[in-house]
Amino acid sequence: MADPKYAALFLAESREHLRSCNDLLLEWERTPGASEPVNGLFRAIHNMKGMAATLGYSAVADLAHRSENVLDAVRSGRASGTPELIQLLFKSVDALEKAVEGAQSGKGEPSAKLLAALDKAAVAAGGEKVAAEASPTGAAGSPAPGGNPGGGAPGAARLPARAPAVPAGHLVGVTIRSGVPMRGARALLALRRVEVFGKITALRPAVVALEREDFDGRFSFHLRTGTETAAIEAAIRSAGDVERVAFDADVAVETEGPVVAARQIRIDLHRLDTMMKLVGELVVARNRMLELMRGGDAEQAELAGNVSRLVSDLQTQVVAARMTPVSEVFDRFPRLVRDLGRDLGKQIRFEMEGGSIELDRSILDELGDPLLHLIRNAADHGLESPQDRQATGKPPEGKILLSAVRERRTVAIRVTDDGRGIDRDAVLAKAKRDGLADPAADTLTDDVLLRVLARPGFSTAQQVSGISGRGVGVEVAFARARSMGGSLEVQSEAGRGTTFTMRVPLTLAIVRALLAQAGEERYAVPLAYVAETVEFDPQAVTVLRTREAVVVRDRVIPTVHLRDLVAAKAEGVPPRRPTIILEVGERRTALVVDGLLGQQDIVIEPFDAPRGLPPYVGGATILADGAPALILDAAALV
């Protein structure tokens, strides 16, 4: 039986898709020549097909597939949106709705008449094209895209195979010998060998899982063919390293066994999130308890100490359970860069370092998108064409390096290219036009450069040749890094290349923070960004350009007064005040506060930022004594 959570997700998403299908059909009916409704319909139905196939809802998958064939014919210009065709699709959307609602109970099978009509429409538009699309070893047409609601979790692969609605052919189960290398590639080879006999459907696990080697050596599929099983088996075995081939009834039994490894279990991420939240609350309660029990007798102190230690250990373990190597995200990029290189006509050597470094799962999940943008930018805009490279004495092959490094309590993830570097003059001109840079400035610091690049819509500046398009990606990476309490930096050198550094905390939920006071209020500064604390000496104040600055160990560091920032009253300011040196990458700021109140583990409480929230606030927390405090965003202050 399908996991109820996936089933619920499938139902919710499919209903949404069906709603939009109806809207799109109406729009299409009004403007039969338009391509947008067709593309939208195709996407929606394709998504439903993927989900349904993953869950073994063969009636939905089959109907969606046939509808998709018809839409594909329209999309590729082999058929047109006649009133009859649109009417047929209205009917199939209705039938899809029934099939979706009845999927779990196995009801709602579409009528044979409708299926036949869809096939007829597709065949009339050139059936051979349709059959080719279902090739499982081709890049497209796999049942996976948008499907797997577990976000790549291969759990769905364990669902028992259900007899598909297609009558002719065989259900085939194959086991690749254990202990041989690249069993996924071997499986794909086997699929290629049987492709010649007929159409492959209901492949489980999905092609992407096979490509990633994310399976236990067993896979099954339905082959629509009239070929004898002996011939099919021989073809599969000719792929090599095949241990077992089973057909039809034998397959279902075979794939239902438990696949869970002896010493590992899969845990639902939500459950881990809940555990993390509970541990967070426990930490707050512990801090409060320690505060209340201060001054108690020896026995109480010992008990408090014990509980405190246990909570710390528990916290460490829960955090550890969430730690995942960054290679989980990195590993999808080599393929992407290859494809990019081919599309762009560039030779790209892609290297990765630090894949084993671990990050909290929830942070990792947020990294894929921004890294994708940064890598795409590096390939597209950073690297020159082989000809241009050779003209400037560089090897024709450009290099992109994706690396992860632990730096204090953060992880720095860098995308480095050895391309042309960002055209600072062009960006500077643009920055001046937009009022982001001093009109008299003749250079552009990396900081200002980043600020310009990260401006929404920057990419629309066509005049800025060679970097147009950078904006979107940088904007995404910048916003994402900030939202996680991290930062984004850029270093670029003309002719030598560009490096973007995304710095993120190891874990999101609980961080160690330094508590500072300004006026009546207390503020938390995440320790990850605290380089040191010094004493502010009004005598040592100097001026850096137009800003006040202090000299700390021969380095001039601009100051920010927390009092000014939060508009606290200027009464009773002690002349010599503690100063927190914040450090984000290369940049430093001296944050002058009224007092330091020590360190504490704080739990970052998510809260909806009402409009007008100052940028220096990164979140909120509850302190040990139960009072709320704001968390300062170091990246916004330096």
Partner: protein, 120 residues
């Protein structure tokens, strides 16, 4: 008549090793290529029964070469030679038309098994 083989690898070491394994098994090495580009040219000249193809090579990699060769001769019998961990590339090579693959470090018996499968 023995089957003819074109061995493509940018490392002399690997070419020698594959050559030895196949020669001892009665195959005739008719040519060697040290780049994808050479592989495509030599395939055209020599029309070998079998090609062993390294994946990572200078001047057009092995996968690109597979694609080119299969474009000219869809029945070309190409055996990919891959290193550990190149799963994604092997998958791509299969999609490009490679008929089988072996994973380094080579065991002569596994190489010959794969060769038999490709030629069979």
């Amino acid at each position: 008549m023995s089957n003819t083989v074109l061995v493509c690898d940018d490392a002399i070491f690997m070419r020698t090793m594959i050559g030895d394994i196949l020669t001892q098994a009665g195959f005739e090495i008719v040519g060697e290529a040290e780049s994808g580009l050479q592989a495509v040219q030599k395939y055209r000249e020599l029309k070998p029964d079998l090609v062993t193809m390294d994946i990572v090579m200078p001047d057009m990699g092995g996968i690109e070469a597979v694609r080119e060769i299969c474009k000219q001769d869809p029945d070309a019998k190409i055996l990919m030679c891959s290193a550990m961990g190149q799963q994604a590339l092997v998958v791509e090579a299969i999609q490009a038309g490679a008929k089988d693959f072996v994973v380094k470090p080579f065991q002569p018996s596994r190489v010959l098994e794969a060769v038999q499968r490709v030629l069979g």
